[in-house]
Symmetry: C2
Subunit: 406 residues, 2 copies
């Protein structure tokens, strides 16, 4: 059961983006597990990828292709991650591109492949490539929901965000999807996410926009601290809605687009937490008063990854000593615990290194029983601030990850 | 249910150590929750303590007292950690020492206080100090089992190790106890552990022996990655069995004692994992072929802390891709995944960045279904090696930590 508002919005079409899907039987029967994006000529594409040393074969191929071309197609399979698969895995990722290049009469370098699913098994490459033509045959603009559904693994629902905005009399669209529920602690990237706009943006600025917004969205979420082998986040600007290309951050339109994209990316990232494996609570952790962003993040992640904090929140138990312990072992040097203050929403639980004088167990329990809560920590030694999003640790997390192979 | 052999051995008495206990009703009724150790005059005592910034009040007091005296008494309560308790907590830890000093007619500096239990609540100091005299009244040599039982919190069983050894015709004893089951990732120390020998060892060498053996025992275990606020490990040498004091590491007796102590400390540390909250499996993780110890430990802990690896082991599912992912996100720079090899016991699962050619799911499942297993990783780039011990993540871990406040 996902937490809070997870409704799929109206997914506005993006001019210059068509989506097709097919059943390729990668792992399961009777589901569309193969998705293709077709991008208009002249689209600018940027990507950020996992920092996991065991990064998946398709991640290697994506990085190489992005160096040399403006991609025209993305091809995504679910059910198999093609990671930990060695040279055979790399050959399979390339074979997927070669086959799709033949069918579409372009260079294989203009294709970006993606995989998600079980790590350490070889792709069923024949079934996968056999699905390419049916997926191409189904290409259409209005298929973002199909794409969001097609890339799901242990997700319980498709995840999307979509906005329209107007600049200089032109209506632009920003639409994106994401997937992921477990093995979630993106590092410089995310699970799979694809966001596209029909605004005209230079290649350099597409890369910059992606980097800036990933750092406040996908790089600030964690379910279980496990950084995936396949995290990939792609931003596409087709330019098909018209207007002169935006090529400077001083262009006033840049700020508008950054604002919309930030909202879309945060929504897509937070949807992954709301649908986190076994999640019953959505938790925002803000650490302020730090010397720098790094120490704020270190402490926020220390809290977010503590199994003891996460199980206490699952139990609605205001066992706040566990939060203090997680702050204390985050590895931040020379913390003065006497200056640290901690709140659960508006309830102050910790002051001067101990319980706040007016804290009551009842007030703490009230916040902990909510489906959504803010844990706010003030370190009392600087102006830096950062925020991380996470969920609780429930029986169902263990059940999902112990009962079947995801 | 603890994993494997967790039997309490015959706990040989240590000459010069007497133990008393009492019911002080710190948190629960009808249990001996207060333990006192009385050490013979001239005993040498060393301690290592948690690195958690929110370290408990008694840890502050212990460190201060160890600077200035050779302690004569240790006093330990369970049920309340006296951590996150500010100035009141510090005063309570000191009040415990003052009261015990009055009753025993020594200086309060000669007393080391310890607490374990819930974080963030004040000690019931009157009930606690009222228990001191009854505990003193019960002092006797043969009470190590009482002590091991008296310091338990969520432990399901008392934990002890004891050996006798002979040097130069003198029989010496090394006996120790430990406690801990959750909030276990000791950092330079452990949960509570007390080891005593009646061998004559200089104060400097007691400290050195403790440091050396903690680094291969309590500093190499993790249940949930949560470093406690109260970790303390104490080594006592009373010298009461006779012989000339050992004051140089070149003394041949030093090596004998180091060997015995290493076994006792490893056993006490591993018992904590075997009794880890909800544990159904005991897992040894050895990383070899590293450039240095740090990177071997980083990768071993990355595997040991991965909720996905831990739930897969709980399920006896040889989902080894999760092990590769955890190796990959450990943060070790410039790993060449093509050189990495991974085994489950004698079954090679990974070679050259992918599945080993002769690996079969059946062979992997056979090892994963065992109650004890070795995950061995070879990084193929150096001679360093290290080993970490952990357990799996089960429904019961969530149940224990969500159902009641520990």
């Amino acid at each position: 059961m996902a937490v809070g508002d997870v409704t799929m919005p109206q997914m506005h079409v993006v001019k210059g983006v068509k989506i097709g899907s097919a059943e390729a039987y990668v792992r399961y029967q009777n589901r569309r597990d193969l998705v293709i994006f077709e991008l208009a000529e002249g689209s600018h594409v940027a990507g950020v990828f996992t920092q996991n040393a065991f990064c998946a074969a398709p991640v290697h191929v994506c990085k190489a292709h992005l160096q040399v071309t403006n991609p025209r197609y993305l091809v995504i399979n679910t059910g198999n991650a093609n990671a930990g698969t060695g040279k055979v895995g790399l050959a399979n990722a390339e074979a997927t591109c070669i086959k799709l290049a033949e069918l579409t009469n372009i260079s294989q370098n203009e294709i970006l492949p993606f995989s998600t699913g079980v790590i350490g098994e070889q792709l069923p490459i024949e079934r996968l490539t056999a699905g390419l033509q049916p997926a191409l045959d189904s290409l259409k603009e209005d298929a973002w929901l199909d794409a969001a559904t097609g890339i799901m693994t242990t997700d319980t629902l498709p995840k999307g965000a979509s906005e329209q905005f107007e600049i200089d009399g032109i209506t632009y669209t920003m639409t994106g999807i994401s997937k992921g529920a477990g093995m979630i602690r993106p590092n410089m990237a995310t699970m799979l996410s694809y966001v596209a706009t029909d605004a005209p943006i230079s290649r350099e600025l597409v890369q910059l926009l992606l980097k800036e917004t990933v750092n406040v969205s996908f790089n600030r979420i964690t379910v279980d601290g496990d950084t995936s082998t396949n995290d990939s986040c792609i931003l596409i600007a087709t330019g098909q809605a018209g207007g002169i290309e935006i090529s400077s951050i001083d262009d006033s339109r840049y700020a508008v687009i950054l604002d919309v994209l930030t909202r879309v990316m945060k929504r897509l990232a937070q949807l992954i937490i709301r649908d986190g494996e076994g999640a019953t609570k959505f938790i925002t952790i803000t650490v302020e008063g730090g010397l720098n962003t790094q120490e704020c993040c270190d402490i926020a992640y220390s809290i977010a990854h503590s199994p003891l904090v996460k199980t206490a929140i699952f139990a609605s138990d205001p066992n706040w000593g566990r939060i203090l312990a997680a702050i204390g072992y985050a590895g931040v040097k020379n913390l003065d615990v006497e200056k640290i203050q901690v709140w659960l929403d508006d309830v102050q639980i910790c002051k001067d290194g101990g319980a706040a004088a007016d804290y009551t167990e009842e007030a703490g329990a009230r916040v902990m029983s909510q489906a959504e809560m803010l844990i706010r920590v003030n370190l009392g030694r600087g102006d830096a601030k950062d925020t991380v999003y996470t969920c609780d640790l429930s029986y169902d997390y263990v059940k999902i990850n112990a009962d079947y192979r995801s």
